[in-house]
Symmetry: C2
Subunit: 169 residues, 2 copies
C-alpha cells in the first residue's frame, strides 16, 4: 500500500474473522509503535499482548466494548511507564502517537484494529489483571484481527479545523 | 514508499533547505492528521499554519528550539478545542495520534518534520500570538520543510517494552 493511502484509508475495525493473527504481524505492529516519537526520546510506552480467550474475557467484562475484545484474537494493552515519564501531558501525547503507528501497521498488513478507551474507567482492574509493574499506568486497549467488515467514518470539512495564519513576510 | 517502511523510517528532521513547501503538500499533511481516530470521533484537533517569517520569529523566541522554527518554512501549531473535548486524557492521546499522522504524511511526501514540545511552557503566549479562539488550548508545534540532513534515532530493544501475556486457552 502506498504510504499516503495508508494514512487516509485506515478505519476502526470492529468485526473480525475467526482466524488467528500471525505472531510476526503483531511483532511488526509493536515495532512500528515503538518507532513513534517521544519527548527526549523517553519511549514511555509499554505493551502487554493478550491472545488467550480467558484473559480476553476478563478484559471484555470491564467495558461496553466487550463484544469486540471477545471477537478479536489479539488485544494489546498500552501502558505508560510513570518511572520514565518526564511531562505527563507530552507523554500521553506520545502514547497516542505510538497507538496510531500500531493501528496503521495493522492496516498496512491487511489486518484491522480499533482503539478502545471506554475500558479506562477500569484502569486499576486492568493493571491488576495483567499483573504489570506498579509504575505502569493503563492508557488504552487495541483489539486487532482479520477484518470481517469494512470500517466507515467521516470527518468534518478540513476548513473547519485549519486556520492559515495571515502570512506576511 | 511502502507503508510499513514509512512507519519505520520516519525520523525527526531538524535541518531544512531554503526551499518553500508547496501548499498542496501541507494540505495533504493536514488531511492525514484529520483522519486520525478520536474518542466518539470528536476530532478535537485544530491547526494554525504559520509560514510568514515574522510570526515564525515570534514563535522562535518562545523556545530553545528557535533555530528550527526559523529555518523550517512551515510551522503548524496544534491545538485542542476544549469545547468539543469529552475526556481530557483521551483527547490528548488523540492529539498525539493526529500529530503522528501529520509527521508521517510529511515523510511520505519527501519532506521532513519535527514535533516540538518545549514551547509548551509558553502555552498562553502562543495562543495570544496566534489569536486563536479562547477554547483552543495549545498542544504542540510541528516544524516542516525539505530536509537538509537525515535524522537519526535509536530505540531500546523491543523486548524491553513488550510483555506477551501467558496465553492459555
Amino acid at each position: 500500500m502506498e504510504c499516503m493511502e495508508t494514512l487516509l484509508t485506515r478505519r476502526s475495525i470492529r468485526h473480525y474473522l475467526d482466524r488467528p493473527v500471525e505472531r510476526e504481524k503483531v511483532e511488526r505492529a509493536l515495532e512500528a509503535a515503538h518507532w513513534a516519537p517521544s519527548g527526549k526520546n523517553n519511549q514511555p510506552w509499554r505493551f502487554v499482548v493478550v491472545q488467550g480467550r480467558e484473559v480476553r474475557e476478563g478484559l471484555a467484562q470491564l467495558t461496553v466494548s466487550g463484544r469486540i475484545i471477545r471477537e478479536a484474537p489479539v488485544a494489546i494493552a498500552v501502558f505508560m511507564d510513570k518511572e520514565v515519564s518526564y511531562h505527563r501531558e507530552k507523554d500521553i501525547q506520545s502514547i497516542g502517537a505510538c497507538i496510531e503507528n500500531m493501528l496503521l501497521a495493522f492496516h498496512c498488513q491487511g489486518l484491522g484494529a480499533v482503539w478502545l478507551g471506554e475500558i479506562l474507567k477500569n484502569r486499576r482492574k486492568v493493571e491488576t489483571m495483567l499483573k504489570v509493574p506498579h509504575t505502569w499506568e493503563f492508557m488504552a486497549l487495541v483489539s486487532a484481527g482479520y477484518p470481517a467488515r469494512d470500517g466507515t467514518s467521516t470527518r468534518r470539512p478540513l476548513e473547519e479545523v485549519v486556520v492559515w495564519f495571515k502570512n506576511k513576510g
